[in-house]
Symmetry: C2
Subunit: 194 residues, 2 copies
Protein backbone atom coordinates (compact mmCIF):
# COMPACT_ATOMS: atom_id res chain seq x y z
CA UNK A 1 0.00 0.00 0.00
CA UNK A 2 2.46 2.64 -1.15
CA UNK A 3 1.29 6.18 -0.50
CA UNK A 4 -0.01 8.10 -3.46
CA UNK A 5 0.49 11.84 -3.88
CA UNK A 6 2.36 13.89 -1.27
CA UNK A 7 4.21 12.11 1.56
CA UNK A 8 2.05 11.12 4.53
CA UNK A 9 2.44 12.90 7.82
CA UNK A 10 3.33 10.20 10.32
CA UNK A 11 1.12 11.64 13.03
CA UNK A 12 -2.03 11.90 10.94
CA UNK A 13 -1.26 8.53 9.34
CA UNK A 14 -1.18 6.92 12.78
CA UNK A 15 -4.34 8.78 13.87
CA UNK A 16 -6.18 7.59 10.77
CA UNK A 17 -5.20 3.95 11.30
CA UNK A 18 -6.17 4.16 14.97
CA UNK A 19 -9.57 5.61 14.07
CA UNK A 20 -10.05 2.86 11.47
CA UNK A 21 -9.22 0.13 13.97
CA UNK A 22 -11.66 1.57 16.54
CA UNK A 23 -14.47 1.79 13.98
CA UNK A 24 -13.78 -1.78 12.83
CA UNK A 25 -14.11 -3.03 16.38
CA UNK A 26 -17.23 -0.97 17.06
CA UNK A 27 -19.22 -1.46 13.86
CA UNK A 28 -17.43 -3.95 11.61
CA UNK A 29 -16.10 -3.54 8.09
CA UNK A 30 -19.51 -3.76 6.41
CA UNK A 31 -20.45 -0.43 8.02
CA UNK A 32 -17.08 1.29 7.60
CA UNK A 33 -16.76 4.23 5.24
CA UNK A 34 -13.75 6.44 4.53
CA UNK A 35 -15.95 9.41 5.51
CA UNK A 36 -16.50 8.02 9.00
CA UNK A 37 -12.77 7.45 9.37
CA UNK A 38 -12.01 11.01 8.25
CA UNK A 39 -14.48 12.44 10.80
CA UNK A 40 -13.16 10.32 13.68
CA UNK A 41 -9.50 11.05 12.86
CA UNK A 42 -10.06 14.76 12.16
CA UNK A 43 -8.51 14.26 8.73
CA UNK A 44 -9.74 15.62 5.43
CA UNK A 45 -11.72 13.28 3.20
CA UNK A 46 -9.55 14.11 0.22
CA UNK A 47 -6.43 13.04 2.14
CA UNK A 48 -7.98 9.66 2.88
CA UNK A 49 -9.19 9.10 -0.63
CA UNK A 50 -5.74 9.98 -1.95
CA UNK A 51 -3.97 7.55 0.38
CA UNK A 52 -6.31 4.56 0.35
CA UNK A 53 -8.23 3.25 -2.65
CA UNK A 54 -10.98 1.53 -0.60
CA UNK A 55 -12.25 0.68 2.86
CA UNK A 56 -10.80 -2.81 2.32
CA UNK A 57 -7.31 -1.33 1.85
CA UNK A 58 -7.47 0.88 4.93
CA UNK A 59 -8.97 -1.93 7.05
CA UNK A 60 -6.13 -4.23 6.05
CA UNK A 61 -3.45 -1.66 6.86
CA UNK A 62 -5.10 -0.84 10.19
CA UNK A 63 -5.21 -4.49 11.32
CA UNK A 64 -2.07 -6.00 9.84
CA UNK A 65 0.19 -5.09 12.77
CA UNK A 66 -2.29 -6.49 15.28
CA UNK A 67 -2.78 -9.68 13.29
CA UNK A 68 0.95 -10.24 12.91
CA UNK A 69 1.55 -9.58 16.60
CA UNK A 70 -1.26 -11.88 17.79
CA UNK A 71 -0.26 -14.77 15.55
CA UNK A 72 3.46 -14.72 16.02
CA UNK A 73 5.66 -17.71 15.36
CA UNK A 74 8.35 -17.89 18.01
CA UNK A 75 10.53 -20.95 17.48
CA UNK A 76 11.20 -22.71 20.78
CA UNK A 77 13.28 -25.63 19.58
CA UNK A 78 10.34 -28.07 19.62
CA UNK A 79 9.94 -30.54 16.82
CA UNK A 80 8.13 -29.10 13.81
CA UNK A 81 4.72 -30.62 14.53
CA UNK A 82 4.76 -29.47 18.17
CA UNK A 83 5.69 -25.98 17.03
CA UNK A 84 2.92 -25.96 14.43
CA UNK A 85 0.41 -27.03 17.10
CA UNK A 86 1.56 -24.18 19.34
CA UNK A 87 1.23 -21.68 16.48
CA UNK A 88 -2.29 -22.82 15.63
CA UNK A 89 -3.41 -22.54 19.23
CA UNK A 90 -2.17 -18.94 19.32
CA UNK A 91 -4.06 -18.28 16.08
CA UNK A 92 -7.22 -19.84 17.55
CA UNK A 93 -6.93 -17.64 20.63
CA UNK A 94 -6.44 -14.49 18.53
CA UNK A 95 -9.43 -15.42 16.38
CA UNK A 96 -11.78 -15.60 19.36
CA UNK A 97 -11.39 -11.85 19.90
CA UNK A 98 -12.07 -8.78 17.82
CA UNK A 99 -9.37 -9.74 15.32
CA UNK A 100 -11.38 -12.78 14.24
CA UNK A 101 -14.45 -10.66 13.54
CA UNK A 102 -12.33 -8.19 11.58
CA UNK A 103 -10.85 -10.98 9.45
CA UNK A 104 -14.35 -12.35 8.77
CA UNK A 105 -15.30 -8.84 7.65
CA UNK A 106 -12.27 -8.59 5.36
CA UNK A 107 -13.07 -12.01 3.83
CA UNK A 108 -16.61 -10.77 3.18
CA UNK A 109 -15.29 -7.56 1.59
CA UNK A 110 -13.03 -9.70 -0.65
CA UNK A 111 -16.20 -11.17 -2.22
CA UNK A 112 -17.41 -7.77 -3.47
CA UNK A 113 -14.10 -5.98 -4.09
CA UNK A 114 -11.38 -7.72 -6.15
CA UNK A 115 -8.79 -5.16 -5.01
CA UNK A 116 -9.36 -6.09 -1.35
CA UNK A 117 -8.93 -9.77 -2.27
CA UNK A 118 -5.68 -8.96 -4.07
CA UNK A 119 -4.36 -7.00 -1.07
CA UNK A 120 -5.48 -9.71 1.38
CA UNK A 121 -3.54 -12.34 -0.54
CA UNK A 122 -0.52 -10.10 -1.05
CA UNK A 123 -0.27 -8.51 2.40
CA UNK A 124 -1.64 -11.20 4.70
CA UNK A 125 -1.99 -14.71 3.24
CA UNK A 126 1.28 -14.64 1.30
CA UNK A 127 3.58 -13.38 4.08
CA UNK A 128 1.92 -15.61 6.73
CA UNK A 129 2.38 -18.68 4.56
CA UNK A 130 5.96 -17.73 3.73
CA UNK A 131 6.62 -17.48 7.46
CA UNK A 132 5.08 -20.86 8.34
CA UNK A 133 6.39 -22.80 5.36
CA UNK A 134 9.95 -23.35 6.68
CA UNK A 135 8.43 -24.98 9.76
CA UNK A 136 6.50 -27.51 7.68
CA UNK A 137 9.50 -28.05 5.43
CA UNK A 138 11.61 -28.79 8.48
CA UNK A 139 9.06 -31.46 9.42
CA UNK A 140 9.25 -32.91 5.93
CA UNK A 141 13.06 -32.85 6.03
CA UNK A 142 13.42 -34.50 9.45
CA UNK A 143 10.88 -37.18 8.59
CA UNK A 144 8.25 -36.21 11.19
CA UNK A 145 5.82 -35.16 8.42
CA UNK A 146 5.36 -37.74 5.69
CA UNK A 147 6.99 -36.81 2.43
CA UNK A 148 3.99 -37.23 0.14
CA UNK A 149 1.74 -34.48 1.54
CA UNK A 150 1.64 -30.92 0.20
CA UNK A 151 2.46 -28.25 2.79
CA UNK A 152 0.11 -25.91 0.90
CA UNK A 153 -2.78 -28.32 1.42
CA UNK A 154 -1.92 -28.58 5.13
CA UNK A 155 -2.24 -24.79 5.35
CA UNK A 156 -5.47 -24.74 3.31
CA UNK A 157 -6.98 -27.26 5.74
CA UNK A 158 -5.90 -25.65 8.99
CA UNK A 159 -6.72 -22.08 8.04
CA UNK A 160 -9.86 -23.37 6.31
CA UNK A 161 -11.10 -24.93 9.55
CA UNK A 162 -10.54 -21.59 11.29
CA UNK A 163 -12.28 -19.61 8.51
CA UNK A 164 -15.23 -22.02 8.79
CA UNK A 165 -15.79 -21.19 12.47
CA UNK A 166 -15.14 -17.46 11.96
CA UNK A 167 -17.67 -17.16 9.14
CA UNK A 168 -20.35 -19.11 11.01
CA UNK A 169 -19.58 -17.12 14.20
CA UNK A 170 -18.57 -20.17 16.23
CA UNK A 171 -15.78 -19.52 18.77
CA UNK A 172 -12.48 -21.25 17.97
CA UNK A 173 -12.12 -22.92 21.37
CA UNK A 174 -8.81 -24.47 22.41
CA UNK A 175 -10.40 -27.93 22.71
CA UNK A 176 -11.81 -27.66 19.19
CA UNK A 177 -8.41 -26.56 17.83
CA UNK A 178 -6.80 -29.54 19.59
CA UNK A 179 -9.30 -31.82 17.82
CA UNK A 180 -8.46 -30.25 14.45
CA UNK A 181 -4.73 -30.65 15.03
CA UNK A 182 -5.17 -34.24 16.19
CA UNK A 183 -7.06 -35.14 13.00
CA UNK A 184 -4.53 -33.24 10.90
CA UNK A 185 -1.63 -35.11 12.49
CA UNK A 186 -3.12 -38.58 12.89
CA UNK A 187 -6.00 -38.76 10.40
CA UNK A 188 -9.41 -40.23 11.06
CA UNK A 189 -8.85 -43.78 9.74
CA UNK A 190 -8.71 -46.45 12.46
CA UNK A 191 -6.00 -48.16 10.41
CA UNK A 192 -3.94 -45.98 8.06
CA UNK A 193 -4.65 -47.10 4.51
CA UNK A 194 -1.29 -46.06 3.04
CA UNK B 1 -38.83 -19.10 5.01
CA UNK B 2 -42.61 -19.37 5.47
CA UNK B 3 -44.56 -16.96 3.31
CA UNK B 4 -45.94 -13.91 5.06
CA UNK B 5 -49.27 -12.33 4.13
CA UNK B 6 -51.45 -13.77 1.38
CA UNK B 7 -50.55 -17.16 -0.16
CA UNK B 8 -47.94 -17.00 -2.91
CA UNK B 9 -48.93 -17.63 -6.49
CA UNK B 10 -46.87 -20.60 -7.58
CA UNK B 11 -46.19 -19.13 -11.01
CA UNK B 12 -44.92 -15.76 -9.81
CA UNK B 13 -43.04 -17.45 -6.94
CA UNK B 14 -41.16 -19.60 -9.47
CA UNK B 15 -40.55 -16.58 -11.74
CA UNK B 16 -39.13 -14.59 -8.85
CA UNK B 17 -36.75 -17.36 -7.78
CA UNK B 18 -35.64 -17.87 -11.39
CA UNK B 19 -34.96 -14.12 -11.76
CA UNK B 20 -33.02 -14.15 -8.49
CA UNK B 21 -30.89 -17.09 -9.58
CA UNK B 22 -30.09 -15.42 -12.91
CA UNK B 23 -29.10 -12.15 -11.22
CA UNK B 24 -26.93 -14.03 -8.72
CA UNK B 25 -25.07 -15.71 -11.55
CA UNK B 26 -24.72 -12.50 -13.54
CA UNK B 27 -23.78 -10.00 -10.82
CA UNK B 28 -23.33 -11.80 -7.51
CA UNK B 29 -25.12 -11.34 -4.21
CA UNK B 30 -23.27 -8.12 -3.28
CA UNK B 31 -25.02 -6.34 -6.17
CA UNK B 32 -28.42 -7.99 -5.76
CA UNK B 33 -31.38 -5.88 -4.65
CA UNK B 34 -35.01 -6.90 -4.24
CA UNK B 35 -35.86 -4.06 -6.65
CA UNK B 36 -33.77 -5.62 -9.42
CA UNK B 37 -35.44 -8.98 -8.81
CA UNK B 38 -38.90 -7.38 -8.99
CA UNK B 39 -38.07 -5.70 -12.30
CA UNK B 40 -36.61 -8.85 -13.86
CA UNK B 41 -39.52 -11.05 -12.69
CA UNK B 42 -42.21 -8.51 -13.55
CA UNK B 43 -43.42 -8.69 -9.94
CA UNK B 44 -44.40 -5.83 -7.68
CA UNK B 45 -41.85 -4.61 -5.17
CA UNK B 46 -44.37 -4.80 -2.35
CA UNK B 47 -44.96 -8.49 -3.10
CA UNK B 48 -41.27 -9.21 -2.81
CA UNK B 49 -40.78 -7.23 0.35
CA UNK B 50 -43.77 -9.05 1.88
CA UNK B 51 -42.43 -12.48 1.02
CA UNK B 52 -38.71 -12.12 1.72
CA UNK B 53 -37.13 -10.15 4.56
CA UNK B 54 -33.79 -9.60 2.79
CA UNK B 55 -31.68 -10.31 -0.28
CA UNK B 56 -29.92 -12.99 1.77
CA UNK B 57 -33.21 -14.81 2.34
CA UNK B 58 -34.26 -14.72 -1.31
CA UNK B 59 -30.75 -15.73 -2.48
CA UNK B 60 -30.81 -18.73 -0.17
CA UNK B 61 -34.24 -19.86 -1.33
CA UNK B 62 -33.27 -19.40 -4.99
CA UNK B 63 -30.12 -21.53 -4.68
CA UNK B 64 -31.09 -24.21 -2.15
CA UNK B 65 -32.55 -26.61 -4.72
CA UNK B 66 -29.50 -26.28 -6.95
CA UNK B 67 -27.10 -26.75 -4.06
CA UNK B 68 -28.93 -29.82 -2.79
CA UNK B 69 -29.07 -31.34 -6.27
CA UNK B 70 -25.39 -30.70 -7.03
CA UNK B 71 -24.13 -32.10 -3.75
CA UNK B 72 -26.27 -35.18 -3.48
CA UNK B 73 -25.35 -38.14 -1.33
CA UNK B 74 -26.28 -41.32 -3.15
CA UNK B 75 -25.28 -44.36 -1.11
CA UNK B 76 -23.64 -46.99 -3.30
CA UNK B 77 -22.80 -49.64 -0.73
CA UNK B 78 -19.15 -48.54 -0.41
CA UNK B 79 -17.53 -48.40 2.98
CA UNK B 80 -18.18 -45.16 4.82
CA UNK B 81 -14.86 -43.50 4.06
CA UNK B 82 -15.06 -44.32 0.35
CA UNK B 83 -18.56 -42.89 0.26
CA UNK B 84 -17.46 -39.72 2.09
CA UNK B 85 -14.63 -39.29 -0.43
CA UNK B 86 -17.09 -39.61 -3.30
CA UNK B 87 -19.43 -37.06 -1.71
CA UNK B 88 -16.62 -34.53 -1.19
CA UNK B 89 -15.49 -34.86 -4.78
CA UNK B 90 -19.01 -34.08 -5.97
CA UNK B 91 -19.05 -31.06 -3.64
CA UNK B 92 -15.68 -29.89 -5.01
CA UNK B 93 -16.99 -30.19 -8.56
CA UNK B 94 -20.15 -28.23 -7.72
CA UNK B 95 -18.09 -25.53 -6.00
CA UNK B 96 -15.99 -24.89 -9.10
CA UNK B 97 -19.06 -23.54 -10.91
CA UNK B 98 -21.47 -20.72 -10.30
CA UNK B 99 -22.79 -22.38 -7.15
CA UNK B 100 -19.44 -21.90 -5.43
CA UNK B 101 -19.42 -18.19 -6.19
CA UNK B 102 -23.00 -17.90 -4.91
CA UNK B 103 -22.09 -19.65 -1.65
CA UNK B 104 -19.09 -17.33 -1.20
CA UNK B 105 -21.51 -14.42 -1.67
CA UNK B 106 -23.93 -15.83 0.90
CA UNK B 107 -21.08 -16.33 3.41
CA UNK B 108 -20.10 -12.69 2.85
CA UNK B 109 -23.70 -11.54 3.36
CA UNK B 110 -23.78 -13.56 6.63
CA UNK B 111 -21.08 -11.20 7.97
CA UNK B 112 -23.26 -8.12 7.61
CA UNK B 113 -26.74 -9.59 8.15
CA UNK B 114 -27.37 -11.84 11.19
CA UNK B 115 -30.69 -13.01 9.70
CA UNK B 116 -28.90 -14.39 6.62
CA UNK B 117 -26.46 -16.21 8.91
CA UNK B 118 -29.36 -17.69 10.87
CA UNK B 119 -31.07 -18.86 7.67
CA UNK B 120 -27.81 -20.23 6.24
CA UNK B 121 -27.27 -22.35 9.34
CA UNK B 122 -30.90 -23.43 9.56
CA UNK B 123 -31.60 -24.12 5.88
CA UNK B 124 -28.23 -25.22 4.54
CA UNK B 125 -25.56 -26.15 7.10
CA UNK B 126 -27.93 -27.96 9.47
CA UNK B 127 -29.71 -30.17 6.92
CA UNK B 128 -26.48 -30.97 5.01
CA UNK B 129 -24.76 -32.03 8.22
CA UNK B 130 -27.78 -34.07 9.31
CA UNK B 131 -27.64 -35.85 5.95
CA UNK B 132 -23.91 -36.64 6.12
CA UNK B 133 -23.75 -37.53 9.81
CA UNK B 134 -25.15 -41.09 9.49
CA UNK B 135 -22.38 -41.85 7.01
CA UNK B 136 -19.66 -40.81 9.48
CA UNK B 137 -21.45 -42.60 12.30
CA UNK B 138 -21.50 -45.77 10.21
CA UNK B 139 -17.73 -45.43 9.85
CA UNK B 140 -17.38 -45.00 13.62
CA UNK B 141 -19.64 -48.00 14.25
CA UNK B 142 -17.90 -50.38 11.83
CA UNK B 143 -14.45 -49.39 13.10
CA UNK B 144 -13.18 -47.80 9.87
CA UNK B 145 -13.10 -44.34 11.54
CA UNK B 146 -11.34 -44.24 14.89
CA UNK B 147 -13.67 -43.86 17.83
CA UNK B 148 -12.03 -40.84 19.47
CA UNK B 149 -12.60 -38.23 16.73
CA UNK B 150 -15.59 -35.88 16.62
CA UNK B 151 -17.67 -36.18 13.42
CA UNK B 152 -18.50 -32.48 13.80
CA UNK B 153 -14.80 -31.59 13.67
CA UNK B 154 -14.37 -33.77 10.57
CA UNK B 155 -17.11 -31.73 8.89
CA UNK B 156 -15.65 -28.40 10.09
CA UNK B 157 -12.32 -29.36 8.53
CA UNK B 158 -13.58 -30.63 5.20
CA UNK B 159 -16.07 -27.85 4.57
CA UNK B 160 -13.56 -25.38 6.01
CA UNK B 161 -10.97 -26.40 3.41
CA UNK B 162 -13.59 -25.83 0.69
CA UNK B 163 -14.65 -22.45 2.14
CA UNK B 164 -10.98 -21.43 2.20
CA UNK B 165 -10.59 -21.95 -1.55
CA UNK B 166 -13.99 -20.42 -2.35
CA UNK B 167 -13.30 -17.24 -0.40
CA UNK B 168 -9.82 -16.79 -1.90
CA UNK B 169 -11.21 -17.60 -5.37
CA UNK B 170 -9.01 -20.66 -5.89
CA UNK B 171 -10.68 -23.45 -7.90
CA UNK B 172 -11.43 -26.62 -5.88
CA UNK B 173 -9.65 -28.99 -8.28
CA UNK B 174 -10.16 -32.75 -8.00
CA UNK B 175 -6.46 -33.34 -7.29
CA UNK B 176 -6.54 -30.78 -4.47
CA UNK B 177 -9.66 -32.40 -2.97
CA UNK B 178 -7.92 -35.80 -3.15
CA UNK B 179 -5.01 -34.31 -1.19
CA UNK B 180 -7.39 -32.93 1.44
CA UNK B 181 -9.15 -36.28 1.81
CA UNK B 182 -5.84 -38.15 2.02
CA UNK B 183 -4.66 -35.90 4.87
CA UNK B 184 -8.04 -36.18 6.56
CA UNK B 185 -7.97 -39.98 6.39
CA UNK B 186 -4.28 -40.67 7.03
CA UNK B 187 -2.95 -37.56 8.78
CA UNK B 188 0.33 -35.85 8.07
CA UNK B 189 2.52 -37.55 10.68
CA UNK B 190 5.05 -39.99 9.24
CA UNK B 191 4.40 -42.22 12.26
CA UNK B 192 1.01 -41.87 13.96
CA UNK B 193 1.63 -40.55 17.46
CA UNK B 194 -1.45 -42.02 19.09
Amino acid sequence: MAPVGRPRSDASHAAILKATYELLQEEGLARLTLDKVARRAGASRSTLYRWWPSRGAIAMEATLDTINREMSLEPQGDNALAEYRRLLKSVARAMRGGTGAIIAGILAECQRDPETLRLYKEKLVGPRRAEIMPLLQRGLADGSIRADVSPQTILDMTFGAIYHQLLLHIPTEDAWMDGVIDILVNGIAAKPSR
